[in-house]
């Protein structure tokens, strides 16, 4: 890293300290304003939690918006199976400077589950996406190295955490 880059980085860090980013609930208002048709059912169930449903096609710009507004930490990505017709991908996003955890849910059709990968926005999304893929069969478009992580390779295609999974080897 050159000295110039280092100086610029340091300046960015100082800026962050001087202007603390808004990591409180006002972000939810801004989020629904910015993405008027893509964010709905916003709720605040408890003081440090906020929940919203998002349009699966708009996940990437929404995540980019959250990252730019100080939500710099992705806690986890989970899949939830709701047979017979839908699956949810649930994102928990939070920040290193505040207690608010934003839960974003994107519903996708169960017969063709795929959603955009957010690996190039949050680096650590990689393993969470791989895990959700191997357990639910949800395809993350453009995820680098989308392959099994915890399971053995023979079990790729079994999708064991789906509700209708009947055991290995899968009789269906």
């Amino acid at each position: 890293m050159t000295d110039e880059q280092a100086a610029k980085e340091m300046l960015d860090d100082i800026k962050k300290i001087i202007e603390p980013s808004k990591t409180d609930k006002t972000i939810m208002v801004e989020l629904s304003k910015t993405f008027e048709n893509a964010v709905f059912d916003v709720a605040v169930p408890s003081p440090n939690r906020a929940v919203a449903r998002v349009d699966p096609g708009k996940v990437k710009p929404i995540m980019q918006f959250l990252l730019d507004n100080g939500f710099d930490h992705l806690s986890c990505i989970s899949g939830v199976d709701y047979p017979p017709d839908r699956m949810d991908v649930v994102y928990h996003v939070t920040s290193y400077s505040g207690p608010l955890v934003i839960t974003l849910k994107a519903s996708i059709p169960r017969d063709d589950p795929n959603i955009d990968s957010i690996c190039d926005i949050y680096w650590n999304a990689n393993w969470y996406e791989r895990e959700t893929y191997e357990l639910y069969g949800i395809k993350f478009n453009d995820c680098p190295y989308l392959k099994v992580l915890l399971l053995v390779e023979e079990m790729e295609g079994e999708w064991p955490l789906r509700k209708d999974y009947a055991g290995y080897p899968n009789p269906t």
């Binding site: 980085e9 860090d13 169930p45 408890s46 440090n48 939690r49 710099d72 930490h73 992705l74 806690s75 986890c76 989970s78 939830v80 199976d81 649930v90 928990h92 290193y96 400077s97 505040g98 207690p99 955890v101 839960t103 690996c119 949050y122 680096w123 650590n124 990689n126 393993w127 357990l135 680098p144 190295y145 099994v148 992580l149 915890l150 399971l151 053995v152 064991p160 955490l161």
Partner: protein, 376 residues
């Protein structure tokens, strides 16, 4: 940080060797495979393969009633079993809309901090063996015995405590506990300080650890590293402070941070956190109110109303989260475990690139990983 850093992208050239480290190796308790592509002594690419002890816990939990899950949460990681009980119980309490009693809150904080001390002691011990400092391991295990006995006196078991309950805890303190605890912890404080002095002044140890495996503040937060490795890089992130649960807002403590982000500071953070935990325990023993330690009536079968909760805790290794969806029945509809060791393990391969083979043990062990929790 690019994603290529987590994978071995091409077969080794004639000047390179592919080295399999694992799945069985003395580096850490628990099997994982670390593939290294090395050229001479330098690591060019690294890839971590996990899943050797995948237990399918998330699937298992969907088929158990809420009270049956409680002892199983211990088994996610035996060193953090008490915090796993606690985070699970707080999640269910939120779903049920109940609060633990005031005394139970203090008892949970007390056991959580004891749990943190014994986990850090064993973590440091294992790490020092990996850097060739076996004496320290013996010391740490000796010190840990006292702390584990303190936990045993409250919870009745030495490893998988199964102590927290919905709305309370399983047992009250035994008589004469305060004197016993203060005696053991007073000795421990002196010993930890002398160990800290020893580790900070041994020139061979310093050359082995200073400036090795450096994680800068920016990279550590970008990679999502959790717990002591994150704080050693200068990120002031501790859920006890950021989201004070139980009674942490009534207690006085410091969040330990270091700025170097190398192997040395990660161990330093753990040593100083032990002292801070002792201070918290002393306050707990002084301030603990009398009163009931559990709910008067708690039904055996729990049926929370439909809803969901994401509860988190600062466990010895960092942010442990549980995302529980209830559909109104006596079993959870979905149970997601977000472990800190999983998050930290993911950041290991990029950290190893460019370092020497001889430093792999030091760097990997300084992360204090727990394969059982990574695989779940």
């Amino acid at each position: 940080m690019t994603h290529e850093a987590t994978q071995i992208t091409s077969p080794p050239k004639s000047s390179e060797i592919l080295l399999h480290l694992g799945p069985q190796h003395p580096l850490q308790p628990g099997p994982f495979l670390l593939d290294l592509k090395i050229e001479g002594e330098t690591i060019r690419e690294a890839e971590l393969k996990i899943g050797y002890i995948h237990k399918g816990m998330e699937k298992v939990f969907e088929d158990r009633t809420y009270i049956q899950i409680l002892p199983l949460t211990d088994r996610i990681c035996y060193l953090a079993s008490n915090s796993n009980n606690d985070v699970y119980c707080r999640g269910i309490e939120e779903l049920l809309g109940i609060e633990p009693t005031e005394r139970a809150k203090y008892l949970r904080v007390l056991t959580n901090e004891l749990c943190r001390i014994q986990s850090h002691l064993l973590g440091i011990g294992e790490y020092t063996t990996d850097v060739g400092f076996l004496t320290m391991f013996i010391y740490m295990v000796r010190e840990r015995e006292g702390v584990v006995s303190l936990l045993e006196a409250i919870t009745g078991s030495r490893l998988n405590h199964n102590y927290a309950r919905f709305g309370g805890v399983a047992h009250d303190l035994p008589p004469g506990y305060k004197e016993m605890a203060l005696k053991t912890l007073g000795e421990l404080k002196k010993l930890v300080k002398s160990h800290d002095e020893m580790l900070s002044s041994d020139s061979i140890y310093l050359r082995r650890t200073k400036g090795v495996g450096v994680l800068t503040t920016k990279v550590a937060s970008e990679l999502g590293v959790a717990g002591p490795p994150l704080r050693a890089s200068g990120v002031n992130y501790d859920l006890r402070r950021i989201e004070p649960y139980l009674v942490y807002d009534e207690l006085d403590f410091n969040v330990i941070t270091q700025t170097d982000g190398d192997v040395f500071s990660r161990v330093k953070v753990r040593l100083l956190e032990i002292l801070e935990s002792i201070y918290i325990i002393e306050q707990c023993l002084d301030q603990m109110p009398s009163g009931p330690y559990k709910q008067d009536v708690m039904p055996y079968i729990t049926r929370p109303k439909p809803g969901e909760v994401y509860s988190r805790i600062e466990d010895p290794r960092g942010e442990m989260g549980m995302y529980i969806i209830s559909d109104g029945s006596d079993k959870p509809y979905r149970f997601r475990i977000r472990g800190p060791a999983f998050a930290t393990a993911q950041a290991l391969p990029p950290l190893l690139i460019g370092t020497y083979v001889a430093d792999v043990a030091a760097i990997a062990a300084s992360m204090d990983s727990c394969t059982s929790e990574v695989d779940r």
